[in-house]
């Protein structure tokens, strides 16, 4: 029994977004820490983002009126995505924008794909190859991107122009692979 159900895959399926062999069930979902947004990730790199419009106050009517505000199919990681994290968003009356991190795997290491929602569509803006496989993204209440390696080491993705290069161990971006 549930008071509200969000029907995923309700619309007609796009074959380019859903290959025949792809799993129909999402592999991971997450909420935004600062707004009423839900991100849904499928294993082969398809992402849907919903604005839930949850009703918190008393009264009659639906408890939420979700609307799909964006979709995205990742290019780099074909079929090994496993975690999605939405960073703190900026939500105005007219627009909603946020950054989404998606964790996937390459043959040698994990990869964090970064997408941005600008109020109208989701665009894939880049990717960072990490040091090893089998890591996890760490959720954050701020706009920080933290990845945990298999041995417990924590890495933070940051802009190299604001850091001291000599103190840091930097890794190749995905485009250099």
């Amino acid at each position: 029994m549930s008071s509200m159900q969000l029907a995923l895959l309700a619309g007609p399926l796009d074959k380019s977004q859903f290959p025949r062999s792809a799993a129909r069930v999402p592999v991971h979902t997450c909420f935004s820490p600062s707004s009423d947004v839900l991100g849904v990730l499928w294993e082969h790199g398809y992402v849907e983002v919903y604005h839930l419009r949850t009703r918190l106050g008393p009264g009659r009517g639906k408890v939420m009126q979700p609307t799909k505000i964006g979709i995205c199919s990742l290019n780099e990681t074909n079929n090994h995505c496993r975690q999605i994290v939405i960073l703190a968003s900026t939500c105005n009356a007219d627009s909603l924008s946020f950054t989404t991190l998606i964790l996937g795997s390459l043959s040698e290491s994990d990869v964090v794909v970064i997408t941005q929602f600008n109020g109208q569509r989701i665009t894939e803006t880049g990717a960072v190859a990490m040091t090893s496989r089998n890591g996890r993204l760490v959720r954050s209440s701020t706009d920080a991107c933290v990845w945990e390696a298999e041995d417990g080491k924590l890495f933070r993705c940051s802009n190299s122009s604001s850091s001291n290069h000599q103190d840091l161990i930097s890794f190749h971006t995905l485009s250099e692979y």
Binding site: V128, F155, C157
Partner: protein
Amino acid sequence: MNIDNQISTPFSRFSNFCFVAQHVTLSTTELCVGLTGSGKLQVCGGELSCLTLASNATSFAVASGYLIFTTGAHEAVFAPMEDLPTLLMSDNNSKDITSDWEKRRVERGSRIVVCVPSSMSLVLQMPRGNLETINPRPLVLEVVRQDLNAYAFRYSIEVVF
């Protein structure tokens, strides 16, 4: 984020892999809190060492300036976040600091679902799956403190009564 200059840098480390972890930014520093599969609740940050706060933790949440965690001893512990950097830097006074933390008995096997700072409530899942809400004293006092600082004396009294 400038993706063209995107790099990943070592930040800190847990002593074991934590399947559930959270990054928290404080006024002076930033910390990561993680829970291992064996129930170790770990805290680490920046150049600070990694510290195991509890070895029998079952769940945790960060809200209202507190790290709240449940233990296998059927307790919910409220650790002020501002205490954690001090605790990480010196292990000598750790027992003095942790003994001052507020604790509250909870039902056996309870796990934290979510903490709602605005309503001063902590939602727990019982072993049978039912959800129960409690209003722990530290969360209520935090709201009262905020009201007093904002000179909203009437609201602060209404919260208490």
